[in-house]
């Protein structure tokens, strides 16, 4: 989050100040890429499409930093859904079965992660083991810092559904992490024995 400076930076960016825009971009792009990584590949591509849309609408945007984040990520989600449709269309896959989600979960297969030095990319891989909605809600709440109401609006669910998804998602993640921890101590114990 940028904080107090945000309003001034936004005003400057709106008048074409590139350095002000760069600050806004640097603040948000990492979270944007992490969020878009839920779909697997093409996060960079979707992120630049998102910014393309954002800069075009910048002059019309009104609101504080929270509204700004919500707007950027709403834009990102739309671009991600578009990209997801294109992906599934080209693969002639079962888009209908996947409902309207663009998030693609992965099978648990990361036993070799070193928990203490987890990279953000590895962390995203762990989140992707969750059901799509839970994964998305957890990232929007934890990484992007949006409120339940904002997330609910963004994903098109009720605030109650978002709360439940966040709760269950975090519970599952805690479980995964504990198991990961056990695996790690087991292997260390094994190494000590040999």
């Amino acid at each position: 989050m940028i904080g107090e400076e945000f309003e001034r930076l936004l005003a400057r960016a709106r008048t074409g100040d590139e350095s002000a825009f760069a600050v806004l971009w640097r603040d948000l792009n990492p979270a944007l890429l992490r969020y878009l990584s839920l779909a697997g590949e093409s996060a960079d591509e979707v992120a630049s499409e998102t910014w393309l849309t954002v800069v075009k609408g910048l002059a019309d945007f009104r609101g504080d930093e929270t509204a700004w984040r919500a707007w950027v990520f709403t834009t990102a989600r739309r671009r991600a859904v578009d990209a997801g449709r294109q992906r599934t269309r080209s693969a002639r896959a079962q888009w209908r079965d996947r409902s309207s989600s663009w998030v693609t979960p992965v099978e648990p297969d990361c036993a070799d992660l070193v928990i203490e030095s987890l990279s953000s990319a590895e962390a995203i891989q762990i989140v992707r083991r969750l059901p799509a909605l839970q994964a998305e809600v957890v990232l929007l709440r934890v990484v992007v810092g949006l409120s339940v109401t904002e997330v609910a609006e963004l994903v098109g669910r009720s605030p109650g559904a978002v709360r439940v998804a966040a709760h269950r998602g975090l519970q599952s993640l805690a479980k995964i992490m504990s198991e990961q921890g056990v695996t790690r101590s087991d292997s260390r114990a094994l190494r000590e024995v040999t």
Partner: protein
């Protein structure tokens, strides 16, 4: 629900990694983003102002078209009034009795009033007279008529009513106009003074006001206007456009 799972210590490393500061790879796209930003500065002005200017253009177009039609009418009146004043004997009584001198004064006032404020009040008196289509104003009226898109509506304007009357019906106006003799050869009119004067007077006034606008406005806008404008505009424009008040 139980205690907030986010407080579970098992999650700490994961949350730390998820919210870690940006790494290099995540900042690579800045150049591209700046390029997009720069391009957007050039190509997209604020939407609101674009929308506003569009409304303004439409309003201006309609107003401009109205003014142009009025100016032709007013110019015609002024011309006829001038002819009347200089050659009273040759002009029909019918319209000289309709106020020759007040018209020439009022026409100027109306033209100024239109230019400045666009209020219809001044023109109501001027258009009530209407130019005599069979006179020197015929060319101006025919020119105006050829540029009017919504002929059904325009035909109700006094100036065009006179034109239609002279032509023997609204549907014969085009043919009648086509058959007009060239400018400066007004049949039946006193050949001496009118040829000199009508050309000097009408060209002065109408060209300043109408020529600019009718040329640009009618071809592009009128066909779309009836469908696009009615919803947005009534709140702001109708008072100045007076489409209903004039006839």
């Amino acid at each position: 629900m139980s205690a907030d799972p986010i407080d579970d210590p098992a999650l700490t490393p994961l949350l730390r990694a998820l919210t870690a500061p940006a790494d290099e790879r995540e900042l690579h796209g800045l150049d591209g983003a700046i390029r997009s930003f720069r391009a957007a500065q050039v190509t997209s002005p604020p939407h609101s102002s674009r929308r506003a200017s569009m409304i303004f253009t439409l309003a201006g177009a309609k107003l401009g078209a109205t003014l142009a039609a009025l100016a032709v009418g007013v110019g015609g009146v002024a011309t006829v009034a001038y002819v009347t004043a200089s050659a009273p004997a040759a002009t029909p009584d019918a319209h000289s009795s309709a106020a020759a001198s007040p018209t020439s004064v009022g026409a100027d006032d109306a033209a100024h009033a239109q230019g400045a404020t666009g209020t219809p009040s001044g023109t109501a008196t001027a258009t009530a007279v209407g130019p005599v289509a069979s006179g020197a104003a015929a060319h101006g009226l025919c020119t105006a008529w050829s540029h009017v898109a919504d002929k059904g509506k325009a035909a109700q304007a006094p100036a065009f009513v006179n034109l239609a009357a002279a032509a023997g019906g609204a549907d014969k106006v085009d043919a009648w106009c086509a058959a007009l003799p060239p400018v400066g050869d007004s049949a039946g009119k006193p050949a001496d003074h009118p040829t000199g004067k009508p050309t000097s007077v009408p060209t002065g006034k109408p060209t300043t006001v109408p020529t600019g606008k009718p040329a640009t406005v009618p071809p592009t806008v009128p066909s779309q206007k009836p469908t696009t404008t009615p919803t947005g505009k009534p709140a702001t424009v109708p008072p100045t456009t007076h489409p209903t008040g004039r006839p």
